[in-house]
């Protein structure tokens, strides 16, 4: 039972990172109707920038500066690249997303090389014990940051005028423009914010795995799964979806072995390989039963 609880708790923590990656994907999907496949690689690049900054300054300052730089990168990309394809067919957006993926992966690799870099952890020391469950210090920090970020975004979109204008732009761009919302500025802002969120995810993930140009590949994949699971138009759904994916992965990693031997269908050499398959399988099941995702709104169109 202890193993179970520990696996669930650690799954929730890893999942919270998928959740904020999903949050960034949802923000971009909502405003520009495209999947930013480059999200993870841009986050990796900004994490490398943070790494460079942190050689010269304390963690907190480097963290904040990297977030600001990421915001700038997102805003410039929207103005310079995304705007060119925003009224083109969806496939153009897909190609641009993949292009960003390759471009930023190459930029990171060309500047920092393929070798692993050590990324600083702000809280070091042994694991902490909460009610009999041991949690790594970094996991607790990561979870706290992810939850705080989600709560701040929720409040921002729900209760502020700019958040409202961003949602209006996402819902109906022409309508919002005619209501006096400068929608071009809003799209730029949305991309900036999403890229900043991605940068936070990168800096939280880097100490857990090692910082390499490819580190975000699987994180993006699961963040993507989380976004689809939660429903692509729901920010809280993205975070919950992330947690579900994280917990599923962990539980499968631990129990798939027992399950297979109980069924007498042979043995498994590496149970971890199954975590990802099952996590992805879950998405297919959810989409088959509930295509709009767990929290998404059904789209009803008048014909």
């Amino acid at each position: 039972m202890d193993t179970f609880i520990e696996q669930v708790v650690s799954g929730v923590m890893t999942g919270s990172v998928y959740g904020i990656v999903a949050l960034a994907l949802v923000m971009i999907f909502q405003s520009t109707r495209m999947f930013n496949f480059g999200q993870g690689e841009i986050a990796t690049f900004t994490t490398f920038i943070a790494w460079s900054l942190m050689l010269h300054m304390p963690y907190a300052l480097g963290f904040v500066l990297a977030v600001v730089i990421a915001f700038g990168i997102g805003a410039v990309l929207e103005r310079g690249v995304i705007r060119l394809v925003e009224d083109k067919p969806a496939m153009s957006g897909v190609m641009v997303g993949l292009g960003l993926f390759i471009a930023f992966n190459s930029i990171s690799a060309s500047i920092y090389g393929p070798e692993p870099h050590h990324f600083e952890q702000p809280f070091t020391g042994g694991p902490i014990d909460i009610g009999g469950v041991t949690i790594g210090r970094h996991s607790a920090y990561l979870f706290g940051v992810a939850m705080l970020l989600s709560a701040l975004f929720y409040a921002f979109f729900r209760y502020t005028s700019v958040g409202l204008a961003l949602r209006a732009t996402a819902a109906d761009r022409t309508g919002a423009e005619l209501m006096g919302v400068p929608t071009g500025y809003m799209l730029m802002l949305g991309w900036g914010l999403a890229t900043a969120v991605g940068a936070v995810a990168g800096m939280l993930v880097a100490p857990m795995i090692v910082l390499t140009p490819n580190m975000m590949f699987f994180v993006l994949l699961f963040g993507f799964a989380a976004a689809v699971l939660g429903g692509l138009d729901s920010a809280p759904g993205a975070v919950v979806g992330g947690v579900i994916v994280g917990v599923t992965q962990n539980l499968v990693g631990v129990y798939v072995d027992d399950l297979v031997s109980a069924l007498h269908v042979g043995s498994i050499r590496d149970p971890n390989q199954y975590r990802d398959i099952v996590a992805m399988g879950l998405i297919i099941v959810v989409l088959a039963l509930r295509p709009r995702g767990l929290f998404g709104r059904a789209i009803v169109e008048r014909v």
Binding site: T160, S161, V162, L164, A171, L178, M179, G180, P182
Partner: protein, 259 residues
Amino acid sequence: MTLLSVTDIWKQFGGIRALQGVGFEVEEGQICALIGPNGAGKTTMFNCLSRIYDPDRGAIRFAGSDLLARAPHAVVSAGIARTFQNVSLFSTMTVMENVLVGGHSTIQHNAVLTMLRWPSVTRSERAARERAATLIDYFDLRDVADRPAGALPFPTRKRVELARGLMSSPRLLLLDEPAGGLNHEEVRELGELIRSVRTDLGVTILLVEHHMQLVMTISDKVCVMDFGRKIAEGCPDEVKSNAEVIRAYLGDTPGEQPA
């Protein structure tokens, strides 16, 4: 005082001349209707006023300033708001949120200051919420204020659209076929509502409308368009008896063949 003055507007789409030198004026405080058979160019005219279209030629002056020099989103801050032919509310957002978006131009919206909850920002947001609440009461929407706009019956959504348009405290409200999709009784109520909006909120109204009864009961002035030209203007009674207007709507009658 002339609030809106449209002079010699031309607009061509490919081979179609949608507007051919249209001009008219709207006085402050008037309810003015733009009517005409389908394809007369009424909606094109509206879209020029909203800056969705750039006219090929001509001038639009609003309250003495050049409207054509403004970006589409800056039309609202000039003092012109509009509603749409097919109600285009943000369907997943609540009624209150829809109305608040209409007031975006009145709020200080520096993104950084908004996130820091700067006092001047929260003050203007609070003022917007108060105005939204007043309008929601005025249009009798309090019971549905927190419901998603897409779930409401059509006539209610029309009232939400009016409230949203009025959120920016416009001097001129453009209504694009407000009576479309409403039944007889609902049209009558809408007519009364439009008149009281004019009186209570002191807003000038320009509408495009097919529903003749509505146009003739509420308008101070009617401009009739046909094939991209203005063929008549005047008070409802003058327009009703104008031979050119009758011809545009009913076609030539055998007895009145031009020589």
